[in-house]
C-alpha cells in the first residue's frame, strides 16, 4: 500500500552542518496492516512521514501510495491519506466540533456526510462531553483524540501517525490503541512511528527499525525477536557483589552448556547478563550455583525484546542512542524545516 524507495533527504548546508536525515531509506507497508516505525529520536522517522504526506520533497527517491506517485500527484495522495502530526495542530479559539467541520470542508465533504462522520467519531473517541468547548482548554489527551478524529474524518485508506501517544495519559493511550487496532481490522492501513518499544511491540503487525536515516531491521515483532534466539537472563548472586566474585561466577557460567555471551554489568552492582539457548539451561544454572555454594539474590529471565533487536543491529540500546542523538540535533533548524 505504501512504497518508499531509496529516499534520501539532507537538511542544512550553508550555515549549519548538513544533517543526513534519510539515507537511502526503503520501506514497503502491506495493505491492511498496522505497521510500526521504531527508532530513537532523530532517526529520521518524522522526515520519512512528512515526505510520505507530501509536506516535504525528498532529495532522491520514490513515494507511492496505493500505486499513486506522491511526487507527481500529491493531491491524489492527500485524498488517500490521513495524517496525525507529532505536534497537535489545533486552533484554540475554535471548538472541537468547529475544527472537525473545517476539516470536512477542506476535504470537500457534503453537509450530510460531515454531520454523520462527526457524530460517529465523537462517539468512537468518546469526545461527547467536551467537543463543544474551545480547544484552548483541552488536555493533551483530548487534543490528541481530536487530532486523530480530524485525520480519520474523510475515511482515509491510509492513516499515518507520528508519535501518537507521546506524553499521553493512560486512558487516552488505551483509547487510541483500541481505535488503531479496530481500524486495521476494518481494512485501513495504519503506519505509526514511535520511540516506545512497548508500543510498537504491542500494536504493530510488522515493523521497521530505523537508525541514522536507514532501515536496519524489518519484519514481524515475533520474527525479529525470534531471529535473535535464546532467552535473556540477568543474575545477581548478592545485591552488591564485587569484581572478584563476579568474575568467578562468570567463569562458572561460561563453562555451562547452552550459555552464551556472559557480560558483567559493573553499573548494576556486578550483576551478570547472559543469553541462554533454552529455558532448561536456567535450571542447570541454579544447580551449578548451589553446588558451588553461591547464593542467588535475583535471577530474571526474559524473551528477547525489540531493544535487544536494536542492540544487536547497532551495538547500543535505544535509550543510549536517544542520548547520543540528542546532543547532535539542531532543534532550531529542525523547527525551521518543519515550518511550512
Amino acid at each position: 500500500m505504501i512504497e518508499l524507495e531509496h529516499l534520501s533527504k539532507r537538511f542544512g548546508g550553508r550555515k549549519v552542518a548538513p544533517v543526513q536525515a534519510l539515507d537511502d531509506l526503503s520501506l514497503s507497508v502491506p495493505a491492511g496492516s498496522l505497521y510500526g516505525l521504531l527508532g530513537p529520536n532523530g532517526a529520521g522517522k518524522t522526515t520519512a512521514l512528512r515526505i510520505l504526506c507530501t509536506l516535504l520533497a525528498p532529495d532522491a527517491g520514490q513515494v507511492r501510495v496505493a500505486g499513486v506517485d506522491a511526487l507527481a500527484e500529491p493531491r491524489a495522495v492527500r485524498r488517500l491519506l490521513g495524517y496525525v502530526a507529532q505536534e497537535v495542530a489545533i486552533d484554540k479559539i475554535l471548538t472541537g466540533r468547529e475544527l472537525l467541520h473545517l476539516q470536512a470542508a477542506l476535504h470537500h465533504m457534503g453537509a450530510a456526510d460531515r454531520l454523520e462522520r462527526t457524530a460517529e467519531l465523537i462517539e468512537l473517541l468518546t469526545m461527547g462531553d467536551w467537543i463543544d468547548r474551545r480547544c484552548g482548554g483541552y488536555s493533551g489527551g483530548m487534543r490528541r483524540r481530536l487530532d486523530l478524529a480530524a485525520g480519520l474524518l474523510h475515511r482515509p485508506r491510509v492513516l499515518v501517525l507520528d508519535e501518537p501517544t507521546v506524553g499521553l495519559d493512560i486512558e487516552s493511550r488505551a483509547t487510541i490503541w483500541q481505535v488503531l487496532r479496530q481500524l486495521r481490522d476494518q481494512g485501513t492501513t495504519v503506519l505509526l512511528s514511535s520511540h516506545y518499544l512497548e508500543e510498537v511491540d504491542a500494536l504493530a503487525d510488522r515493523l521497521a527499525i530505523i537508525d541514522g536515516g536507514r532501515v536496519i531491521a524489518e519484519g514481524t515483532p515475533a520474527a525479529l525477536k525470534g531471529a535473535l534466539g535464546g532467552d535473556r537472563v540477568t543474575l545477581r548472586v548478592r545485591e552488591f557483589s564485587d569484581e572478584q566474585e563476579a568474575s568467578r561466577v562468570r567463569d562458572l557460567l561460561q563453562a555451562c552448556r547452552g550459555v552464551r555471551q556472559v557480560v558483567v554489568n559493573r553499573a548494576q552492582g556486578y550483576s551478570l547478563n547472559l543469553v541462554v539457548e533454552d529455558s532448561g539451561v536456567v535450571e542447570t544454572l541454579r544447580q551449578q550455583l548451589a553446588e558451588a555454594q553461591l547464593p542467588v539474590f535475583a535471577l530474571a529471565q526474559s524473551r528477547p525484546s525489540l531493544d535487544d533487536v536494536y542492540l544487536q543491529a547497532t551495538g547500543r540500546t535505544l535509550s543510549d542512542a536517544e542520548l547520543s542523538v540528542a546532543g547532535r540535533r539542531d532543534l532550531k533548524e529542525e523547527r525551521k524545516q518543519s515550518m511550512r
Partner: protein
C-alpha cells in the same frame, strides 16, 4: 463502534470530480469562517481597528483646523482632505497584518493541516484572507466615513461609494498578497512584525494621505507619486470632492497626470502581479 468502518473506496469524489469552482468556494468559505469566528471571539481586534482611525481622523483633522483657507488645492478643508487618507491607510494597515495569522498557523503547525488536505487550490488560503480583510476594512471605512460626515467633512454619494469600494478591494488584495508572501518567506513572526513596523508609517508619510504633492520637496513628491497608497488615496479623494468621472485627472505627478481609471489600473496590475508572485510560494511544498 462499528460506525468507524472506513470504506475502501477512496472518497465520494471518485464518482466524478465536482467542479473546481464549487470546491474552491467550499474551501475558501470554510477558511474565511474560521477567521470570522476568531474575530467574534476576540473582538478586541475589531474594536481597536475601528477606534484607531477615528482617533486619527478627529485629532489629525483638528491639527490643521485653523490653517489659512485656500491652502489646499480646490480650497477644501483639511478634515475633508484627510478622510480619504485615513480610509486608505486603515485598509492598508489591516491588509499588511493579514500575514500574521498565517505566520502563527505556520508556527503552531496548523498550516500543515491545510497543506496535507487535498485543497483544490492553495489560493483558497489567499482568497480567505482577502475576503476577511476586505470585510473588516469595509466596516472600518464605513465607520470613518460616517464619522467624517458627522464632522462635516462630506459624504461621497452613490457612485463615489462604489469607487471607494473598488479601490479598497484592489488595494487590500495587493497588500494582503504581499503580506502572505512575507508570511511564507520570513522565518518567524518576530521578523514579520518588524517588517510591518518598518513599512507602515514611512509608506503613510511618503504618500498623499496627509499632504498634497505640491507641499513636498521634489524627492518626496517623486516617492509619493510612485507610492501605491497614493493611487488608492486620490480616486477616493476625488469621490469625496463630489461629481467626478473616471477619466478625470486625479493626480498630478512629476512624471505626468493620472486619471482615476489609470490609478485603478495600476492598483489592479499590482494586485495581479503580487498574487502571481506569491502563488509559487504556496506550492513550494515540494521543493
Amino acid at each position: 463502534m462499528t460506525s468507524a468502518s472506513p470504506s475502501l473506496t477512496p472518497l465520494p469524489a471518485a464518482s466524478g470530480e465536482p467542479s473546481a469552482l464549487a470546491e474552491i468556494t467550499q474551501e475558501t468559505l470554510a477558511l474565511t469562517r474560521r477567521l470570522f469566528v476568531q474575530l467574534a471571539r476576540r473582538p478586541s481586534t475589531l474594536v481597536a481597528g475601528v477606534l484607531q482611525p477615528l482617533i486619527w481622523l478627529v485629532l489629525f483633522g483638528a491639527l490643521f483646523a485653523n490653517a489659512p483657507e485656500g491652502l489646499l488645492p480646490g480650497g477644501i478643508s483639511y478634515g475633508r482632505f484627510l478622510g480619504a487618507g485615513v480610509i486608505v491607510f486603515t485598509a492598508f494597515s489591516a491588509a499588511l497584518n493579514a500575514g500574521l495569522p498565517v505566520m502563527f498557523d505556520r508556527e503552531f503547525g496548523f498550516l500543515n493541516r491545510l497543506l496535507v488536505a487535498p485543497l483544490r487550490s492553495r489560493s483558497s488560503i489567499v482568497f480567505a484572507s482577502v475576503l476577511y480583510i476586505t470585510s473588516l476594512s469595509l466596516v472600518q471605512s464605513l465607520a470613518i466615513m460616517g464619522t467624517a460626515a458627522l464632522l462635516g467633512y462630506g459624504w461621497p454619494g452613490g457612485a463615489g461609494l462604489l469607487l471607494v469600494l473598488v479601490t479598497l478591494l484592489l488595494l487590500v488584495f495587493a497588500v494582503t498578497a504581499l503580506s502572505l508572501g512575507l508570511a511564507f518567506a520570513l522565518p518567524g513572526h518576530i521578523e514579520l512584525i518588524a517588517v510591518i513596523f518598518v513599512a507602515n508609517l514611512p509608506l503613510l508619510f511618503a504618500s498623499t494621505a496627509l499632504a498634497p504633492i505640491s507641499f513636498m520637496p521634489p524627492w518626496l513628491g517623486w516617492l509619493a507619486a510612485l507610492n501605491p497608497l497614493t493611487f488608492a488615496i486620490e480616486p477616493i479623494r476625488a469621490a469625496y470632492a463630489g461629481s467626478f468621472h473616471l477619466t478625470d485627472v486625479v493626480l498630478v505627478a512629476p512624471y505626468g497626470s493620472l486619471t482615476a481609471l489609470t490609478c485603478l489600473a495600476i492598483l489592479a496590475g499590482l494586485a495581479a502581479g503580487l498574487f502571481l508572485l506569491i502563488r509559487p510560494m504556496l506550492d513550494r511544498k515540494l521543493t
